[in-house]
Symmetry: C2
Subunit: 133 residues, 2 copies
DNA sequence: CTGGATCCTATAAGATACTG
DNA sequence: CAGTATCTTATAGGATCCAG
Protein backbone atom coordinates (compact mmCIF):
# COMPACT_ATOMS: atom_id res chain seq x y z
CA UNK A 1 0.00 0.00 0.00
CA UNK A 2 1.85 3.09 -1.27
CA UNK A 3 4.70 2.68 1.10
CA UNK A 4 7.23 4.73 -0.76
CA UNK A 5 4.96 7.74 -0.97
CA UNK A 6 3.90 7.69 2.62
CA UNK A 7 6.76 9.62 4.13
CA UNK A 8 7.57 12.26 1.59
CA UNK A 9 4.61 12.79 -0.66
CA UNK A 10 6.47 14.65 -3.34
CA UNK A 11 6.90 18.39 -3.79
CA UNK A 12 4.16 20.42 -5.45
CA UNK A 13 1.76 23.29 -5.26
CA UNK A 14 -0.82 23.72 -2.54
CA UNK A 15 -3.51 21.73 -4.28
CA UNK A 16 -1.03 19.04 -5.11
CA UNK A 17 -0.16 18.75 -1.44
CA UNK A 18 -3.82 18.61 -0.58
CA UNK A 19 -4.51 15.85 -3.05
CA UNK A 20 -1.45 14.05 -1.78
CA UNK A 21 -2.64 14.23 1.81
CA UNK A 22 -5.99 12.79 0.90
CA UNK A 23 -4.26 10.00 -0.93
CA UNK A 24 -2.10 9.34 2.09
CA UNK A 25 -5.26 8.82 4.08
CA UNK A 26 -6.79 6.60 1.45
CA UNK A 27 -3.62 4.59 1.13
CA UNK A 28 -4.07 3.51 4.73
CA UNK A 29 -7.79 3.11 4.71
CA UNK A 30 -8.55 2.57 1.09
CA UNK A 31 -8.08 -1.17 0.95
CA UNK A 32 -11.02 -3.42 0.47
CA UNK A 33 -11.35 -4.35 4.12
CA UNK A 34 -9.70 -1.72 6.31
CA UNK A 35 -12.82 0.32 6.87
CA UNK A 36 -15.01 -2.62 7.74
CA UNK A 37 -12.45 -3.69 10.28
CA UNK A 38 -12.05 -0.21 11.73
CA UNK A 39 -15.79 0.14 12.09
CA UNK A 40 -16.08 -3.19 13.82
CA UNK A 41 -13.17 -2.38 16.10
CA UNK A 42 -14.38 1.09 16.99
CA UNK A 43 -17.20 -0.27 19.12
CA UNK A 44 -14.73 -1.82 21.54
CA UNK A 45 -12.29 -4.73 21.81
CA UNK A 46 -13.07 -7.44 19.33
CA UNK A 47 -11.52 -10.83 18.75
CA UNK A 48 -10.04 -12.23 15.56
CA UNK A 49 -12.80 -14.74 14.94
CA UNK A 50 -15.47 -12.23 15.79
CA UNK A 51 -14.00 -9.92 13.16
CA UNK A 52 -13.96 -12.76 10.70
CA UNK A 53 -17.70 -13.12 11.18
CA UNK A 54 -18.58 -9.43 11.27
CA UNK A 55 -16.60 -8.35 8.23
CA UNK A 56 -18.49 -10.60 5.91
CA UNK A 57 -16.67 -12.08 2.97
CA UNK A 58 -13.16 -11.41 4.20
CA UNK A 59 -10.60 -14.16 3.88
CA UNK A 60 -8.43 -15.15 6.77
CA UNK A 61 -5.37 -13.97 4.94
CA UNK A 62 -6.72 -10.52 4.21
CA UNK A 63 -8.01 -10.16 7.74
CA UNK A 64 -4.56 -10.88 9.10
CA UNK A 65 -2.81 -8.64 6.59
CA UNK A 66 -5.15 -5.72 7.09
CA UNK A 67 -4.99 -6.06 10.86
CA UNK A 68 -1.19 -5.98 10.71
CA UNK A 69 -1.21 -2.86 8.54
CA UNK A 70 -3.68 -1.06 10.75
CA UNK A 71 -1.70 -2.03 13.81
CA UNK A 72 1.50 -0.84 12.19
CA UNK A 73 -0.03 2.53 11.40
CA UNK A 74 -1.16 2.93 14.99
CA UNK A 75 -4.85 2.61 14.17
CA UNK A 76 -5.40 -0.61 16.07
CA UNK A 77 -4.13 -1.89 19.38
CA UNK A 78 -3.49 -5.61 19.55
CA UNK A 79 -3.74 -7.28 22.92
CA UNK A 80 -2.76 -10.90 23.32
CA UNK A 81 -4.10 -12.83 26.29
CA UNK A 82 -1.54 -15.49 27.21
CA UNK A 83 -4.12 -18.24 27.41
CA UNK A 84 -4.59 -21.48 25.62
CA UNK A 85 -6.18 -21.43 23.19
CA UNK A 86 -4.90 -17.93 22.40
CA UNK A 87 -7.22 -14.96 22.62
CA UNK A 88 -6.37 -11.75 20.80
CA UNK A 89 -8.35 -8.56 21.01
CA UNK A 90 -8.16 -5.60 18.66
CA UNK A 91 -9.21 -2.12 19.63
CA UNK A 92 -9.34 1.07 17.63
CA UNK A 93 -6.94 3.69 18.96
CA UNK A 94 -8.18 7.22 19.72
CA UNK A 95 -6.62 8.33 16.44
CA UNK A 96 -8.61 5.69 14.59
CA UNK A 97 -11.81 6.72 16.34
CA UNK A 98 -11.21 10.24 15.08
CA UNK A 99 -10.92 8.78 11.63
CA UNK A 100 -14.14 6.90 12.16
CA UNK A 101 -15.90 10.15 12.87
CA UNK A 102 -14.47 11.64 9.71
CA UNK A 103 -15.72 8.73 7.68
CA UNK A 104 -19.28 9.43 8.69
CA UNK A 105 -19.27 12.37 6.31
CA UNK A 106 -18.18 10.12 3.47
CA UNK A 107 -20.74 7.52 4.44
CA UNK A 108 -23.60 9.93 4.52
CA UNK A 109 -22.50 11.34 1.19
CA UNK A 110 -22.58 7.87 -0.34
CA UNK A 111 -26.00 7.24 1.13
CA UNK A 112 -27.41 10.55 -0.01
CA UNK A 113 -26.27 10.09 -3.58
CA UNK A 114 -26.45 6.37 -4.01
CA UNK A 115 -29.48 6.60 -6.20
CA UNK A 116 -28.28 9.56 -8.23
CA UNK A 117 -25.04 7.77 -8.98
CA UNK A 118 -26.88 4.63 -9.97
CA UNK A 119 -29.04 6.64 -12.34
CA UNK A 120 -26.04 8.48 -13.71
CA UNK A 121 -24.45 5.16 -14.51
CA UNK A 122 -27.52 3.81 -16.19
CA UNK A 123 -27.88 6.98 -18.24
CA UNK A 124 -24.23 6.91 -19.24
CA UNK A 125 -24.33 3.25 -20.16
CA UNK A 126 -27.43 3.57 -22.26
CA UNK A 127 -26.21 6.76 -23.90
CA UNK A 128 -23.04 4.95 -24.86
CA UNK A 129 -23.13 1.53 -26.41
CA UNK A 130 -22.73 -0.49 -23.26
CA UNK A 131 -25.08 -3.41 -22.58
CA UNK A 132 -27.37 -2.97 -19.55
CA UNK A 133 -26.28 -6.49 -18.41
CA UNK B 1 -13.64 -0.86 -9.93
CA UNK B 2 -16.01 -3.02 -7.86
CA UNK B 3 -18.70 -2.83 -10.45
CA UNK B 4 -20.59 -5.90 -9.39
CA UNK B 5 -20.93 -4.70 -5.81
CA UNK B 6 -21.98 -1.20 -6.64
CA UNK B 7 -25.68 -1.71 -7.10
CA UNK B 8 -26.65 -4.21 -4.48
CA UNK B 9 -24.10 -4.23 -1.76
CA UNK B 10 -25.11 -7.49 -0.22
CA UNK B 11 -27.42 -8.11 2.72
CA UNK B 12 -26.17 -7.73 6.24
CA UNK B 13 -26.61 -6.16 9.63
CA UNK B 14 -26.62 -2.43 10.24
CA UNK B 15 -22.88 -2.13 10.69
CA UNK B 16 -22.34 -4.24 7.64
CA UNK B 17 -24.46 -1.86 5.63
CA UNK B 18 -22.49 1.06 7.02
CA UNK B 19 -19.18 -0.50 6.11
CA UNK B 20 -20.60 -1.35 2.71
CA UNK B 21 -21.70 2.22 2.10
CA UNK B 22 -18.28 3.54 2.94
CA UNK B 23 -16.76 1.06 0.58
CA UNK B 24 -19.16 2.09 -2.12
CA UNK B 25 -17.84 5.61 -1.74
CA UNK B 26 -14.26 4.46 -1.77
CA UNK B 27 -14.85 2.26 -4.77
CA UNK B 28 -15.64 5.39 -6.75
CA UNK B 29 -13.09 7.67 -5.26
CA UNK B 30 -10.50 5.25 -3.96
CA UNK B 31 -8.46 4.89 -7.11
CA UNK B 32 -5.01 6.33 -7.29
CA UNK B 33 -6.03 9.42 -9.22
CA UNK B 34 -9.73 10.11 -8.75
CA UNK B 35 -9.30 12.46 -5.84
CA UNK B 36 -6.59 14.52 -7.44
CA UNK B 37 -8.78 14.95 -10.47
CA UNK B 38 -11.84 15.82 -8.43
CA UNK B 39 -9.93 18.41 -6.49
CA UNK B 40 -8.58 19.98 -9.64
CA UNK B 41 -12.01 19.96 -11.25
CA UNK B 42 -13.81 21.39 -8.24
CA UNK B 43 -12.29 24.81 -8.76
CA UNK B 44 -14.08 25.21 -12.07
CA UNK B 45 -13.98 23.94 -15.64
CA UNK B 46 -10.62 22.47 -16.52
CA UNK B 47 -9.26 21.09 -19.75
CA UNK B 48 -7.73 17.70 -20.40
CA UNK B 49 -4.19 18.91 -20.83
CA UNK B 50 -4.47 21.21 -17.87
CA UNK B 51 -5.50 18.22 -15.77
CA UNK B 52 -2.57 16.28 -17.13
CA UNK B 53 -0.27 18.98 -15.80
CA UNK B 54 -2.00 19.55 -12.49
CA UNK B 55 -2.36 15.95 -11.45
CA UNK B 56 1.31 15.31 -11.47
CA UNK B 57 2.55 11.89 -12.44
CA UNK B 58 -0.65 10.67 -14.03
CA UNK B 59 -0.41 8.89 -17.35
CA UNK B 60 -2.61 9.85 -20.23
CA UNK B 61 -4.30 6.50 -20.12
CA UNK B 62 -5.16 6.69 -16.43
CA UNK B 63 -6.35 10.25 -16.82
CA UNK B 64 -8.75 9.20 -19.53
CA UNK B 65 -9.95 6.12 -17.67
CA UNK B 66 -10.51 7.94 -14.42
CA UNK B 67 -12.27 10.80 -16.16
CA UNK B 68 -14.62 8.34 -17.87
CA UNK B 69 -15.42 6.63 -14.59
CA UNK B 70 -16.06 9.88 -12.79
CA UNK B 71 -18.23 11.07 -15.64
CA UNK B 72 -20.12 7.82 -15.65
CA UNK B 73 -20.83 8.12 -11.94
CA UNK B 74 -22.14 11.63 -12.39
CA UNK B 75 -19.24 13.27 -10.58
CA UNK B 76 -17.91 15.14 -13.58
CA UNK B 77 -19.56 16.97 -16.42
CA UNK B 78 -17.79 16.73 -19.76
CA UNK B 79 -18.32 19.53 -22.21
CA UNK B 80 -16.93 19.28 -25.71
CA UNK B 81 -16.43 22.47 -27.70
CA UNK B 82 -16.87 21.62 -31.37
CA UNK B 83 -13.72 23.43 -32.39
CA UNK B 84 -10.54 22.41 -34.06
CA UNK B 85 -8.38 21.51 -32.38
CA UNK B 86 -10.89 20.00 -29.94
CA UNK B 87 -11.38 21.54 -26.55
CA UNK B 88 -12.93 19.54 -23.73
CA UNK B 89 -13.70 20.88 -20.30
CA UNK B 90 -14.44 18.91 -17.19
CA UNK B 91 -16.38 20.31 -14.26
CA UNK B 92 -17.24 18.78 -10.93
CA UNK B 93 -20.96 18.33 -10.50
CA UNK B 94 -22.72 19.67 -7.39
CA UNK B 95 -22.75 16.14 -6.05
CA UNK B 96 -18.99 15.93 -6.48
CA UNK B 97 -18.51 19.25 -4.78
CA UNK B 98 -20.39 17.89 -1.79
CA UNK B 99 -17.98 15.00 -1.80
CA UNK B 100 -15.11 17.42 -1.93
CA UNK B 101 -16.37 19.06 1.22
CA UNK B 102 -16.62 15.69 2.90
CA UNK B 103 -13.06 14.87 2.00
CA UNK B 104 -11.78 17.85 3.90
CA UNK B 105 -12.43 15.96 7.11
CA UNK B 106 -10.33 13.07 5.88
CA UNK B 107 -7.62 15.43 4.70
CA UNK B 108 -7.36 17.24 7.98
CA UNK B 109 -7.29 13.92 9.80
CA UNK B 110 -4.36 12.78 7.68
CA UNK B 111 -2.57 16.05 8.31
CA UNK B 112 -3.18 15.99 12.03
CA UNK B 113 -1.89 12.47 12.46
CA UNK B 114 0.72 12.25 9.77
CA UNK B 115 3.53 12.37 12.27
CA UNK B 116 1.91 10.03 14.78
CA UNK B 117 1.38 7.46 12.06
CA UNK B 118 4.94 7.79 10.88
CA UNK B 119 6.17 7.24 14.42
CA UNK B 120 3.84 4.31 14.90
CA UNK B 121 5.28 2.72 11.80
CA UNK B 122 8.85 3.27 12.88
CA UNK B 123 8.08 1.84 16.31
CA UNK B 124 6.35 -1.18 14.84
CA UNK B 125 9.10 -1.83 12.35
CA UNK B 126 11.84 -1.62 14.91
CA UNK B 127 9.90 -3.69 17.42
CA UNK B 128 9.52 -6.37 14.80
CA UNK B 129 12.46 -7.50 12.75
CA UNK B 130 11.95 -5.20 9.82
CA UNK B 131 14.90 -3.21 8.47
CA UNK B 132 14.56 0.59 8.72
CA UNK B 133 15.37 0.65 4.97
C1' DC C 1 -8.00 -19.88 18.19
C1' DT C 2 -4.88 -17.09 15.71
C1' DG C 3 -2.31 -16.87 12.67
C1' DG C 4 1.86 -17.82 8.82
C1' DA C 5 3.33 -19.66 4.13
C1' DT C 6 2.48 -20.70 -0.52
C1' DC C 7 0.31 -20.65 -4.90
C1' DC C 8 -2.74 -18.57 -8.09
C1' DT C 9 -5.71 -15.22 -10.53
C1' DA C 10 -7.74 -10.75 -11.42
C1' DT C 11 -7.06 -6.15 -11.87
C1' DA C 12 -4.75 -1.56 -11.52
C1' DA C 13 -1.65 0.93 -13.56
C1' DG C 14 2.63 2.28 -16.47
C1' DA C 15 4.85 2.61 -21.27
C1' DT C 16 4.35 3.33 -25.76
C1' DA C 17 2.47 4.11 -30.22
C1' DC C 18 -1.25 5.67 -33.14
C1' DT C 19 -5.43 8.96 -34.64
C1' DG C 20 -9.49 12.32 -35.76
C1' DC D 1 -5.83 18.66 -28.35
C1' DA D 2 -7.82 14.80 -26.61
C1' DG D 3 -8.07 10.83 -26.83
C1' DT D 4 -7.72 5.03 -28.21
C1' DA D 5 -5.28 0.59 -28.51
C1' DT D 6 -1.98 -2.66 -27.16
C1' DC D 7 1.44 -4.65 -24.34
C1' DT D 8 3.56 -5.40 -19.96
C1' DT D 9 4.37 -5.30 -15.05
C1' DA D 10 3.12 -4.74 -10.17
C1' DT D 11 0.09 -5.72 -6.70
C1' DA D 12 -4.26 -6.87 -4.31
C1' DG D 13 -6.70 -10.37 -3.04
C1' DG D 14 -8.59 -15.41 -2.87
C1' DA D 15 -7.79 -20.51 -1.89
C1' DT D 16 -5.59 -23.73 0.53
C1' DC D 17 -2.68 -25.96 3.77
C1' DC D 18 0.16 -25.94 7.89
C1' DA D 19 1.40 -24.69 12.93
C1' DG D 20 2.05 -22.91 17.86
Amino acid sequence: MGEAEADRCGPGAAEQASACTVREALDRVGGKWAIGILIAASAGPIRFTELERRVEGISRRMLTLTLRNLERDGLLDRHVHPTVPPKVEYTATPMARELYESLVALTSWAERHREAISEARAAYDSAHGRPPA
